[in-house]
Symmetry: C2
Subunit: 298 residues, 2 copies
């Protein structure tokens, strides 16, 4: 049996993922649970870690962690590395802790931009630099990130609150009260993308969002299509406007994330006649391995 | 004592206002409570009306009502009058009801736009046409309305979900969790207005909203200034982008509403070097009187 040399932890707000890796970085075992940091009470992160992978822990095997576990709400708050942020800079700023039994854990820092523009990321940097040296990365989600990578470093990036805005509008606004069913409706989504592109061009996102209500009251949008329409507005507006912020032309981003969400973004790019490429699924573990190697932990 | 000739009802989602008027439209008495339509259980609107002004009701005195009381969630759902919507068109579409004791109530219709663009208003039309024959009206609030009035009719209008977005972001998003105190901070508000104008120009509102978090994490925005900053972003974006939708140039809107909210909008206009004028406080009652006169109820 191959020997475990590294434990790679991807510990986010709502999920926990741990992998045992051999010296070549091959995954020997994966454990995946819903034990995100929000489920941890009174800072008992070590207890939660042992609940999940206590049988894997060994003072001879380092653990390396990224994700919201490194945030103020997590176990160990790591600093932000400013852009341009290379793998070497991330590795140099890993915060190390030893548990009482000698187990060593490294927490990877986030990345920020300051000066005229302020922005932050935490977790995506590991994923992006795990697989990219050059190009444009798009990491959709609660706080969607667009990042320009040059010479193996994140040079510039921008966040869009797309996923979170979708969630709060559906769960708490008058738009959500009109929704009956959230199954994906591709036609409504694409209609939303068109409205979102209009919102990007005119700067009128909150007007287009209200349009979901007006269309519904006029029986021009079915109650079971409203959620997809709003998703289309928000994703369409993001895709259409991001290049205004990052000074892009026709760069095709590598789109990271869960398949269903990546599908939606690719459909929005296609509707707006722009190119995008599906990213790999194993970018996070690749990034954790890269940092561990720079630390000579693997 | 002057004789009551009309009861004017302004009955919205969260407030109830009734005025007794004489034949000249002078206000003889005002009752104002928090008995908005959301407080009415199982459709018992008549009971709520009698709780508030039962002693005023008389079969010889008509009541005229506007606001969300005329919506699907209200007492009597009135139709929408399409743009261009004149006072005469509103009056012709008033829906009349008689209570069992003979008291007559007229419910004023809303206004909509259909075709390429869909939008709706309900209540603001009465206020706007109460005092304007020509010009641009701005009715900020939960669903902020911009309306072009020509020849005594609402020709075109657009809604922005500014107030509701502010509320859901503060109450339910990660931005709200960083807020400590919501007192108005004028400097933070004006900084937000500048960010909102940038969002309008680039189509990147959800990026600027996330900026409130990034700035706060970088200690560039105090926890007690975040709410004002977000308010500034949303109002600034609305003010900067509305003319893109309505084909405006430098028209100065008449701004209706509560003094504190109008103050914020006027500050945003001023920061963006645009003109706006404070509207009158009694526009709703003037509008109700105009419609009642067209019905020969006054």
């Amino acid at each position: 049996m191959a020997e475990t040399r590294l434990i790679a932890l991807d510990w986010g707000t709502s999920s926990f993922r741990a992998r045992r890796l051999d010296r070549e970085g091959r995954v020997l075992d994966l454990r995946r649970t819903q034990d995100g940091i929000l489920t941890v009470k009174e800072g008992r992160f070590e207890e939660k870690l042992r609940d999940n992978i206590g049988d894997w822990l060994d003072p001879a095997i380092p653990c390396i962690a990224s994700g919201m576990i490194t945030s103020r709400q997590g176990w160990v708050e790591t600093p932000y590395v400013p852009c341009p942020a290379s793998r070497a800079a991330l590795a140099a700023n890993v915060v190390q802790r030893r548990l009482a039994d000698g187990v060593r854990i490294g927490f990877i820092p986030g990345v920020n931009i300051s000066g005229g523009i302020h922005d932050v990321m935490r977790g995506e940097e590991t994923q992006i630099l795990g697989v990219m040296d050059e190009g444009l990365a798009l990491h959709p989600g609660t706080h969607s990130k667009w990042a320009l990578v040059e010479g193996g470093a994140i040079r510039h990036f921008a966040t869009f609150m797309t996923g979170e805005l979708f969630a709060v509008l559906l769960d708490h606004s008058i738009l959500g009260r009109m929704v009956k069913g959230r199954d994906h409706d591709e036609a409504a989504f694409l209609r939303g993308v068109e409205a979102g592109a209009r919102a990007a061009a005119l700067g009128t996102l909150t007007h287009e969002l209200f349009g979901a209500r007006a269309l519904s009251l006029a029986d021009k949008l079915a109650p079971n299509a409203i959620a997809s329409y709003i998703s289309g507005i928000l994703i369409g507006c993001e895709v259409a406007s991001a290049r205004n912020l990052l000074g892009l032309h026709d760069e095709a981003p590598l789109v990271f994330g869960a398949a269903a969400l990546v599908d939606r973004y690719l459909a929005a790019f296609s509707a707006l006649r722009r190119k995008a490429v599906r990213g790999p699924q194993d970018a996070t573990v690749k990034g954790l391995i890269e940092i561990a190697r720079l630390l000579t932990w693997l």
